[in-house]
């Protein structure tokens, strides 16, 4: 089947298969992406990140329902960690979004990180584009949530929502360790628990210290996701941030930066793929490795030679 054409015609199965093709780097993946690219750039991308147990999936579920009531279609990408030992993964975020499964206006895809370390999978950006081309108005990207190094989300999302909960004990540590810089909007979830006000005060203080670098002062909202409290307000804040990005010209700057990063990544990937695939298949790679191990050659000279041969 012509996956891209069927996807553009509205097939959910084709959308699903396109994601697989890209995620698994099937031969047709580049062609599919090329066909879809002109249809991208429409969706608004919201990143959801935060420590494990913060309630990211439940919060996403509730946010999505608000957008659905507004008549918007939604794509959700939920990333879970791949085991470095087995290469397997348990992708369990859907469980908290079961009510969305049968909503035709929603498409949920779970992804394993497959070795990537920044809280997303290497192919997440492409999957965002695929859902974008499939006409989703809003795309949620939920990160792994293992802790502090989830900086990739900033590169993938227009608005990044950082979800925190009171009483995890390491609130301030997490904030110091970099979550502060990536949030456009902060949601203090499970705000009916003790310590919500204190966390908010501490967060406010730190945001004030950190304010110099942007015209947007990140907002803090309190939510109790499983009771549906504070969700409308959180959506309003996300919308405010989106409006700010639009009027300030920041959206164009962010998307340009993102395009630049993606281009660099694509160049790196394609070049290394092209060369590596070739020399691995021909056995040249093993021969060169042996030569290096015996110090008959030096790696710098090899690379220079390869580049000269392949990049003519």
């Amino acid at each position: 089947m012509d996956i891209a054409a069927e996807l553009l015609a509205g097939s959910r199965l084709a959308l699903s298969r396109a994601i697989t093709a890209v995620e698994n780097e099937y031969d047709e993946a580049t062609a599919i992406m090329q066909q879809l690219y002109p249809h991208t750039g429409q969706a608004y991308v919201i990143g959801v990140t935060g420590p494990p147990g913060a309630g990211k999936s439940t919060l996403t579920d509730k946010l999505v329902k608000v957008y659905r009531r507004q008549g918007k279609t939604v794509g959700i990408i939920a990333v879970d960690p791949t085991s470095p030992f087995s290469g397997g993964a348990i992708l369990g975020d859907r469980i908290r979004m079961n009510e969305l499964t049968l909503d035709e206006g929603v498409f949920i895809r779970s992804m394993g990180t497959r070795g990537s370390l920044g809280g997303l999978s290497r192919k997440t950006a492409d999957v965002v584009k695929i859902m974008d081309a499939a006409g989703k108005d809003v795309i949620f990207v939920e990160t792994v949530g293992v802790g502090q190094s989830e900086v990739d989300i900033v590169k993938a999302a227009d608005t990044t929502v950082v979800v925190l909960v009171p009483g995890l004990g390491d609130d301030i540590q997490a904030i110091k360790a970099g979550i502060l810089e990536i949030g456009d909007v902060f949601a203090i979830n499970k705000a009916d628990r003790e310590g919500a006000e204190r966390l908010k005060a501490e967060l406010n203080m730190m945001l004030d210290l950190d304010q110099a670098k942007s015209a947007w002062r990140p907002s803090i909202r309190q939510t109790v996701a499983n009771a549906g409290q504070g969700i409308e307000e959180l959506v309003a804040t996300i919308d405010e941030h989106a409006a700010f990005l639009g009027t300030s010209g920041e959206l164009v700057r962010r998307r340009t930066a993102r395009a630049r990063n993606e281009l660099i990544a694509l160049i790196e990937e394609q070049i290394s793929h092209r060369i590596l695939k070739d020399i691995a298949a021909s056995g040249q790679l093993d021969a060169l490795a042996a030569a290096l191990a015996e110090r008959r050659e030096d790696p710098y000279a090899i690379v220079k030679r390869l580049l000269a041969a392949y990049l003519r």
Partner: protein, 130 residues
């Protein structure tokens, strides 16, 4: 190109006995598969839609209430009806031997009864996913 087998582990019907489903999910993860687990009380419609969105190679159904003759074939039909012709539907649980031929006839690729080592399930999936 790396091979990533994706499996939806689902509990149709109303029984809450998920020990088997969870043990299998973990064993499949440890065998290198990507496992999507959707929790209890999933209708055939929900299972089918999740299988479609996740583009899984295998739908693994676990059921201990005795409703397998109704629900397993229904999932197979709905999965095929959505064009997922190459998706393997397998099942496990308290299932009398006498029911197995009927379930296979209905398109269930394999039925695993109590006492099956998880390794047999893993081997079956590896051998039969195209």
């Amino acid at each position: 190109m790396e091979r990533h087998i994706r499996v939806l582990v689902a509990k149709p019907g109303l029984d809450g006995h998920d020990r088997g489903a969870k043990v299998v999910a973990r064993a499949l993860r440890d065998a290198g598969f990507e496992v999507i687990y959707t929790g209890l009380r999933q209708t055939p419609e929900q299972i089918t839609e999740a299988a479609l969105q996740e583009d899984v190679n295998v739908v693994a159904l676990s059921l201990l209430s005795g409703a397998h003759n109704t629900l397993f074939p229904k999932v197979v039909n709905m999965v095929r009806g959505k064009g997922m012709n190459d998706v393997l539907v397998i099942g496990g649980g308290v299932i009398p031997d006498a029911d197995i031929p009927g379930l296979k006839e209905a398109g269930v690729a394999a039925v695993f009864t109590p006492g099956t080592p998880t390794a047999s399930i893993i081997d079956f999936i590896k051998a039969n996913v195209k």
